[in-house]
Amino acid sequence: MMKAAVVVFPGTWSDGDCTWALQNIGIDVRKVWHRESSFAKDELVVLPGGFSYGDYLRCGAIAQFSPVIEGVRSHAAKGGLVIGICNGFQILCESGLLPGALVRNKSLQFRCEDTYLLPGSDSPFTKNISSNYALQIPISHGEGNYYADERTLNLLEEQDRIAFRYSSAMGEVNQSSNPNGSSRNIAGIINNGGNVLGMMPHPERACEQLLGSEDGNQIWLSLLEEYL
């Protein structure tokens, strides 16, 4: 059975939602406090959304120095699976586990709304998701505008490491479907090793039809299939 370790920093708030979504599809979950630092080799490490340590500085800037991130680094280096959602994505970028940075939304305002994501990339997180279907998954952030220099962006494209792009419901990737000004509509990227995913939208919120969408489950199901 697949197991997940959901990391809790002081100020994290998506730990409960991630736990709920993962347990609903039969994944065993334990919560890991920010002072711990060891993970089992076969655990999926989840860095959930929230405001770690208050994020009064740049988002994720303090979390990168926490003991648990040391554990995440070594887990990732050994090929272990890591997913950072929202604040988790910001932390992965701040820690250097993923390239680029997440800056203030172009609107300079917080945004909580549905977005549509066109999956790409041949990673364990996305491999079993149909690439011609836009996933309906909400965002909730003030600093989700993905930025990287041209060289990095080109490299991400060449290496097929853009996991999700913001699109319209019909799957068109264009300016009007970009909710925060992200470079090349990037909503999520994968590391060079293919085992670390960072994304701004919240798949754990799109986990039941009752809440408006269950498209987020496709990421967990893709991982589950990989594990079978």
């Binding site: 002081p10 708030w13 939602d17 979504a21 405001f51 305002q109 009752l210 809440l211």
Partner: protein
Amino acid sequence: MDFELLQKVAMTRDEYDRLVDMLNREPNELEVGIVGALWSEHCGYKHSKPLFHHFPTEGETILTKTGEENAGAIDLGDGWCAVFKMESHNHPSAIEPYQGAATGVGGILRDIFAMGMRPIALLDSLRFGPLDDRNNKYLFNGVVSGIGGYGNCIGVPTVGGEVQFDKSYSGNPLVNAMCVGIGRVENLLSASASGPGNPLLLVGADTGRDGIHGATFASVELDENAEEMRPAVQVGNPFLEKLLLEACVELAEEHNDWIVGLQDLGAAGLTSSAIEAASRAGTGIDIDVTLVPRREEKMTAYEVMLSESQERMLVIPKKEHLDDVIHLFRRWEIRADVIGYVTDDEHVTIREGKEVVARMPVAIPTDPPMYSPNTMRPSELDDLHNQDLSVIPDVKNPGVELLNLLGNSNITSRQMIYRQYDHQVLNNTVVLPGGDAAVLRIKGLKQGIAVTTDCNARLVALEPRVGSSIAVAEAARNIVATGSRPVAVTDCLNFGNPEKPSVAYQLEQAVLGISDACRKLGTPVVSGNASLYNETPVGQILPTPSIGMLGVSDSSEDSLTIAPRENNILILIGADLAQGIESLSGSEYATQKLGFTAGKPFIDLDYEVKVQKFILDAHKAKLLTAAHDCSEGGIAIALGEMALAASLGLEAGQIDCGSRVDASLFGEAQSRFIIATDSQDSLSFLEKMLQDSNILFSVIGRAHGERFQLGPIDLSISEMREEYEEGLHRLLDS
């Protein structure tokens, strides 16, 4: 006694003399500070409490006695309960909108988790002056960012609320924050300091000089020098509050046998918190201010006792579990310090080291003077009632008028506000903001809850008693439109200076009007707050008794939204389609045309109850596919909002609008809903039910296509959408 000090704490000479009589001696400065804070309007409710006995407060599912705890608790069944309360943070928001609003949210959250419940939803009822004024824009932007800044960071969804604009709120915005929490009934905590010898444990933030005299500041009119009161506004730290929340909820859920009481520190800080907890338990308290951790040097006992530094809680552990409780808070990386203990002498004793610096019976600060209202009905009300509305010529181009209303500040889409708030975190929001009420599921329970806030202050101004009943009825209609049963009410009574007879009249009549409607609808008032003295040099605010309502949905999965489906039949319930001129009373449309609000508001509460019961019965019989209440902007706006929510046009070009087209389309008669149903069979059932219960109705037409055709109106959905969705942006950018 130093007259300046009395002024600082807003204590009158007579009140001071009363205090001297009660003490049988002259009080010292600290004692005046303590008593002044607790006798302020904000803490002592001296002008409003004498009216509260009118409120119905009891019901089968009500678990708390109104006013005795931090919030009201409702039994949801199967061992679960919900607690909720609304509170104002108007004056702080007037001078420091971001922090004023943010700490308003922080404060109401603490009221909820002080009861051991997990906060699951926030709502905000807001009022501002018109957005064509720069200062109002600044206040609006600051308040909206402040609410988002706190709520988004702490991870409690902001799922609803309302915002209205009127010139009377210029410079005195209203920020009423409501919070709902849920938990197991057995985990409900009391804010009581019982068991002499038990320690008083102060947890959370260090104490600073911020917010001193905040309670007093909330109890006086805003004058030209209000800006100087900026230091009375506190600064929020939602991150710390998130840790406090988790620690307190864990304490309640897993170790509530370790403590006897939990109380938040709000207005008047440690003073009100400790004294109220002692008063509830019939005990005394003994506090040494040198034990209070501080963030600033050389603070006096006065400053420590009256500081309103945020994110602090007072825990009263059983003495044998003190170490366990301290350990729990430390695990959440929160400071916890013993600052005193519970006594059996029914006195409040404040020490600074060994020296006693204040001492008096608990009964003195908790017994504020009560003033019965000296009321006078304003004579202009009758003139406004008698205003001949037929001086307004009937509408020539109703399509243009509808577009205008869709872009009107009081009607236009609130999406640009609520998309700045996380309204989905915690994975419970089933019906999202943008409709009538928000619906939240409760994990592990079939029942869900519906929440809303409402108040059409214009109608309250025209006839306070009727207008306040309408505010309750409309809140209930919002709940019913989602298929949920209205259960209980919290209120925030925002008024001007109650020492003025005309304001006292509004306040008294509003309490009576709320009581009338709550009795009829079976929704007791379980918690609330009064915010008086909402006046600036240019005048007083519209009387605004904001109503927060909680409803219960028997099955959150079956909730209704306002969006009909393709080919659904739309029916107006509660009235004939053709309306007379009186339907324009107090309406947005007539206010625009006249340049002022006039007419006589009217509601038949028995009929209202009957109509609401019909909607719930029809929902239970699975005959409805959507429902929406009719309020500002009349049926044209209600139908327009439904069309926009569904992205579907309307085929209703053949309806007969009678002799006054404007009254029929834009009039705001009460007790009306628009419902949708999906078949002729269902329609026949519904018609039978309506005839049997003697409820008026009128079949309007069909949801279909891309054009909105309603009588003489023929517009495209896209042009309507542009007005509706761009309305607030346009006003803010202008």
